[in-house]
Amino acid sequence: MKQVPEEISVADPDLDPETWLDQYGDYLYQFALARIRNKAVAEDLVQETFLAALHGRKSFKGRSAVKTWLSAILKHKIVDYLRNKRREQVINDTDTVTETVDGFFHRNGSWKIRPGKWTLDPSKIYEQREFMDTFYKCLSDLPDRLSKAFMLREMEGYSTKEICNALQVSSTNSWVMVYRARMFLRRCLELFWFKKQRTKTDNVSLDV
């Protein structure tokens, strides 16, 4: 999201972190609270976000609006938090997500777990808290590096080169990582959102 117009002009690396706090503190807190729903944790994540922003200030260089940049940092913090929390809860970690997509296909390369039919109602997607919860749950189900690669690419719009720099991988590696992330993420949404929606209602909706 490089060219998103924003209310504040950006690109001043000397921008005072205290100004960020005044301007975006409430927004980031609301954002964290909407996804975590625990005030103390939300406060901590906002604090961590500002500290990370302070340290990463030099690399920011105004590639996006300050608000977008700060939200992006916060999103990574949220996903990391959710992942760690689940690890603590699940003692016997039987992660369904493996490192490869082999399980999705037969040996001859045809689909073994076929992509299902998604019927979705756009208004529901954007307005329902449950969808947001499912989406973040699925992101945090991914192995750390896969979710990072995916979020950098799809949420922050990084180029291949930028992802390679950020994660210290080759181009080919970055493509494979994002591919796996897409595969698992769409499967997770299918299992935990679209299937449930289909059984709940049969209203008129878009076929995606």
Binding site: M1, V4, P17, E18, L21, G25, D26, Y27, L28, Y29, Q30, F31, L33, A34, K39, E43, V46, Q47, F50, L51, L54, S71, V101, F104, F105, N108, G109, S110, W111, R114, P115, G116, K117, W118, L120, I125, Y126, E127, Q128, R129, M132, F135, M151, R153, E154, M155, G157, T160, S171, S174, W175, V176, V178, Y179, R182, M183, L185, R186, L189, V208
Partner: protein
């Protein structure tokens, strides 16, 4: 299927890659031919494109925010202290 054609695994990987860098015209053509015959790969394609649209939409960020709550003053003060050089 003939040996020069892509199978579903190869097609899905290339569909994903085509969203991250340019792939050759020949590969695009093979994908397109495969998509004509395979509804599952066509679904895969629509679904990953939907994921992209979802992630890039500002609506996702702005949705379900409760704008009536604010960062509590004590937390704000704590963060302010932490940010001091």
């Amino acid at each position: 299927m003939s040996h020069w054609m892509f199978n579903c695994k190869e097609v899905s990987r290339r569909i994903s890659e085509s969203m991250d860098h340019d792939i050759s015209l020949y590969q695009r053509m093979l994908i397109r031919m495969h998509l004509l015959m395979c509804r599952y790969c066509a679904r895969f394609r629509r679904q990953v494109l939907f994921l992209r649209e979802l992630c890039r939409s500002r609506r996702l960020d702005e949705s379900v925010l409760d704008t009536s709550v604010n960062l509590p003053p004590d937390a704000r003060e704590r963060i302010r202290q932490a940010l001091k050089p």
